[in-house]
């Protein structure tokens, strides 16, 4: 059983009287622990696919089995529960709550899951330490650099130890060096077994993934699996 199984997924947006097929008959299997890059030109449906995988959006047709369970038929609140427990999101624009400190931002998923405060504190402290943020725990997002913000966001996305980590252009707002650091962080999480699905425009970053999905006009054009050494840009550690 694949961790993620999409079959015949369609997503259509209606703008006035024109229809946009953001996703057109997408079928896809992703196994647990995979590292997938989703690539393609702007407007090809990458974000739409990621939102769908993260249960933020519903397909107009087709089925989505997450860990063998058809999640398209779940109610909004049931989807929220699944999202909370199994899925982590990382966004291009970080999406930190500006009035909360780094530690409080990281604690948000635990709070939403109803974990009591005294259990949250040590878990958040450990997560902040893992991402080298212990000195920034009480800083607000505006007092952090872009790279630090994205690290806070990743700490938040992984605090519930999700099975799948979804990242939509996570390095899009970062300079090259910081972007590489963030990429390395995500890859380390993947190495620990988390499925990693990254949307990226950066061929270098895409090249590091073991599997690349090339999208165009809402359809999957190519599904490239890197052989052990096919990618010359890989891993310049």
């Amino acid at each position: 059983m694949a961790q993620i199984e999409l079959s015949g997924i369609e997503r259509t947006f209606t703008l006035g009287d024109s229809e946009v097929h953001a996703l057109d008959k997408v079928s896809l299997r992703i196994e647990a622990g995979e590292y997938v890059a989703v690539m393609g030109p702007s407007g090809s449906g990458k974000s739409t696919l990621l939102n769908l995988l993260g249960l933020l959006d519903r397909p107009d047709a087709g089925h989505y089995l997450l860990e063998g369970r058809d999640v398209t038929t779940l109610s909004a609140d049931e989807q929220a529960t699944v999202r909370r427990a199994r899925i982590g999101f990382v966004f291009q624009s970080f999406h930190l709550v500006p009035r909360l400190t780094a530690a409080e931002n990281v604690a948000l998923p635990l709070m939403l899951a109803g974990v009591p405060a005294h259990e949250r504190t040590p878990r958040v402290a450990r997560a902040l330490k893992d991402f080298g943020l212990q000195a920034r725990a009480d800083h607000r997002p505006e007092e952090l650099s872009g790279g630090q913000r994205q690290r806070v966001a990743i700490a938040r996305a992984t605090i519930m130890q999700p099975a799948v980590l979804l990242a939509d252009e996570p390095t899009g707002n970062l300079d090259r060096h910081t972007g590489e650091e963030v990429t390395a962080l995500l890859e380390a999480l993947n190495a620990d077994g988390t499925t990693l699905i990254v949307v990226t425009h950066d061929p270098a970053m895409g090249g590091r993934a073991r599997r690349r999905l090339m999208m165009e006009d809402g359809a999957l054009r190519q599904d490239l699996r890197a052989g052990a050494a096919t990618s010359p840009t890989a891993a310049p550690t």
């Binding site: 939102n51 993260g54 933020l56 959006d57 909004a76 609140d77 929220a80 529960t81 999202r83 909370r84 427990a85 899925i87 999101f89 966004f91 624009s93 999406h95 709550v97 500006p98 009035r99 909360l100 409080e104 948000l108 998923p109 709070m111 939403l112 899951a113 109803g114 009591p116 405060a117 938040r156 519930m160």
Partner: protein, 402 residues
Amino acid sequence: MTSADTLRFAARAALGYPLRTSLMVLAMAIGVAAVVVLTALGDGARRYVVGEFASLGANLIIVLPGRNETGGVNAGSFVTSTPRDLTVSDATALLRAPLVSRIAPLSVGNSEISVGGKLRDVMVLGTNADYIDIRQYHMAQGQFLPREELGRASAVAVIGDKIRRELFGATAAVGRMIRVGDNRLRIIGVLAPAGQGLGMSTDELVIVPVATAQAMFNTNTLFRIMVEARHRDALAPAQKQLEDILRARREGELDVTLITQDAVLGTFDRILGALTLGVAGIAAISLAVAGILVMNVMLVAVTQRTGEIGLLKALGATGRDIRLAFLSEAALLSIAGALVGYGLGHLGAWGIRLAYPVLPAWPPNWAVAAGLGTALGTGLLFGVLPARRASRLDPVQALAKR
């Protein structure tokens, strides 16, 4: 999400926008403060009036000359131009009514009191021995007027406490002679200090036998007659008996007015009831305005925090979590406003009490409870719509917004 976390989250959100929050709290506070102050004023006035008339005694009937207040037009109104005066013999006649236990005729005038070179204006009240029991006053020293025939003008006087202090200071007053107008009178008693009582305080009064007062002011009319019924239930039949006696003594024409405490209190109750209604109206309006403000502010908050709502949903918040968070925020703002308003209102009531010490301007408990309750109620009520809007936001679009 636990309720403690929901509350904490809502509080952080409210504190995150201090200007918005303080304006909001202020609006709610003004509404609640208005309720507290206005009801304190209204209830203070009511308590003042009730207190004043309650001190009159519950089974009292006051007879005054002239048919002006409750009567209306009758045949006699056209015959006589001036009403007949009340006299001491009227007062004596009233004692014949079986349901009347005692009476006190009242004759009032202003004069000068002098003793040992000290001179002072005083109000002189002519009455009889029963007056002290009817009004439930108490003696500090000596005794009240002697029990004697109403026609006897004994040269005695009972003085109020303030008069005693001003004229005699620390020396004994009872037994001393004073001059009131042209009369030399012997002080036989001093009233216990009383404080306020229906306009005139007994502390500044000189009380003499009714005949003495009438001689002093060269009149044979009475200002008022106070009649005490045997018990409270006998008030209405006693009033009837009095009317019959007086009518018989005035060739069938009742040109006097009879007032009971109940009638007076009833009138004031109606007036003050209307006042309270007005207060409730103002309160309702100001709180409704505050409620609409809460809604507006919360709707702005939802728009402002669209991205945050999208994020919370992406992190696994259910619609209920979001709804409760925003509803709690509205509730917290309302509670804060209500509490601040409660404080401000009490401050205002305190100010009123300071400015008008006779007015017991304390907000009644029901008004405070209603004010706080309504504030919270409107806050929640008007918070529902924004909260629902927030919980129904589409997460993808919410996230796309920055």
